[in-house]
């Protein structure tokens, strides 16, 4: 019986463009380059999430402190730059980071799908992959959808019927007083925690940050960071739902029943 076999070799699944591009483009074209960009933008987003959550802790100090903090963000670097300019620069940076992170995620996902054959008939016995590492795309998509809703809800107020521009405290309480919104917020932040559990470790490998002296700390860092963000972010809707934080704490606001009618502090500041 003939036992010889022809080896024709596989066709490339991602043929390289024949023309070379200028170097930043050439770098981003490669999967390794895209992962580097994902890790850097992931770090930027982690920095944002971290300071955003720390700042939001002011909600526990009451309306005045919280809204004062919101005002501070608009005033950063003020004599050097006009009001809100720094905030806008940060926002543009964030938008760019999100755009690159999502584009790289999408295009690497496509790359992996093209490289994958039809898959195994037997079920895989995973040794190292975790639920977190295997669901990065999905937790990422949930976070992205949440960010969009969050902007409509608390930045533009279009998704928040009780929205008052400038009174972040009251908007936050009004938003979480709607149970479905609070639940969505909890779920989305759980997704973020899971995303960070893998991402905050994975980024070290993607950036080539590896040293036997501190390698073990990379996973400790990811767990600690994800847990810290989780505790802070999950506390906000829970605090409103349990009444720990409520609109009554905002002395500047007049309430009738459950409806907030006026916030004198806000109205004095913006006649």
């Amino acid at each position: 019986m003939a036992t010889t076999m022809d080896r024709t070799g596989a066709e490339p699944v991602h043929p390289r463009p024949t023309r070379r591009a200028p170097w930043p483009v050439e770098f981003y074209r490669s999967g390794v380059g895209k992962k580097w960009v994902m890790a850097i933008t992931g770090l930027l987003l982690m920095g944002f999430v971290f300071f955003h959550s720390i700042g939001n802790l002011k909600v526990y100090l009451g309306a005045e402190d919280f809204n004062h903090y919101g005002e501070f963000l608009r005033e950063i670097l003020v004599p050097i730059l006009p009001r809100t300019i720094f905030l806008w620069l940060m926002r543009l940076g964030l938008i760019a980071a999100f755009a690159f992170h999502i584009h790289a995620a999408w295009s690497l996902t496509r790359m992996n799908q093209r490289a994958n054959a039809d898959g195994y008939q037997q079920s895989r016995d995973w040794q190292a992959a975790t639920a977190a590492s295997r669901s990065m795309r999905w937790t990422g998509v949930v976070v992205a959808l949440f960010v969009v809703f969050h902007l409509f809800d608390l930045t533009w107020g279009t998704a928040n019927p009780d929205y008052v521009r400038g009174d972040g405290y009251r908007n936050l309480v009004a938003s979480f007083s709607r149970t479905p919104v609070a639940i969505f917020y909890l779920l989305a932040n759980a997704a973020l925690v899971i995303h960070l559990f893998h991402g905050a470790w994975s980024l070290f490998q993607s950036l080539g940050l590896n040293n036997p002296r501190w390698n073990a700390w990379r996973k400790h860092f990811a767990i600690a960071f994800a847990a810290l963000i989780g505790v802070m972010n999950l506390s906000f809707p829970l605090a409103v739902m349990t009444g720990l934080v409520s609109a009554d704490d905002n002395d500047a606001c007049t309430k009738r029943g459950d409806v907030i009618e006026r916030c004198t502090e806000y109205e004095e500041a913006h006649p």
Binding site: R7, S202, L207
Partner: protein
Amino acid sequence: MHVTLHVWRQAGPGAPGTMETYDAPDISEEMSFLEMLDVVNERLNSQGREPIAFEHDCREGICGSCGMMINGQAHGPERGTATCQLHMRKFADGEHIYIEPWRAKAFPVLRDLVVDRSAFDKIVEAGGYITAPTGAAPDANLTLIPKDVADAAMDAAACIACGACVAACPNSAAQLFTSAKVNHLNLLPQGQSERYQRVLGMVDAMEEFFGSCTNHGECQEACPKEISIDFIAYMNRDYVRAQLKNRKLLSQD
């Protein structure tokens, strides 16, 4: 012992395949996994049926020919061994064993459990060599290499190119293989002159055929040589550096 095999059978490249079931009684626990397949094949042969095609050569874990997905794990349930070094005592009497070829677009199935791994050759061709000096052989120990460096390079050089890393990877990425082949040269003084050229060439060749790494770590668990994903980080680091280096200053640091 008595086991039941569920084996992927495929007549040729591109042909449709299916899982076939084979009863395998009277198997000794002392047999290696490949010896067990030999016995099954002899029985198939004597019944005039087509034996199960699989690749093998050294049968001692050094050539990288063998390799199959066994019960959801590349090279089966034992850590740090190739399929040829796996023994039947690792399985329970009466167990159902699922056997499939490596699966990735870059590894087309040739027949049954045999895949074409020549995409690996393309990666090695793109930089897995050093420019040999001509002339007389240099004196031994002329180039001093710290022990840690020699050990790390040796760990990378242990790669037998079996393809388990790709087979185990949910993304069909070949990062562990490529990083081993990059680093066993890039870590050593002798590999320095082509260091950045090498990592660019080999990563580019890799990405024509394979997926991208998301740091699951499945490859490291599947590797019969227990090669560490640390090498993937070193390769990423060298790739980024290679993009930035002024090649005229390569001999300065």
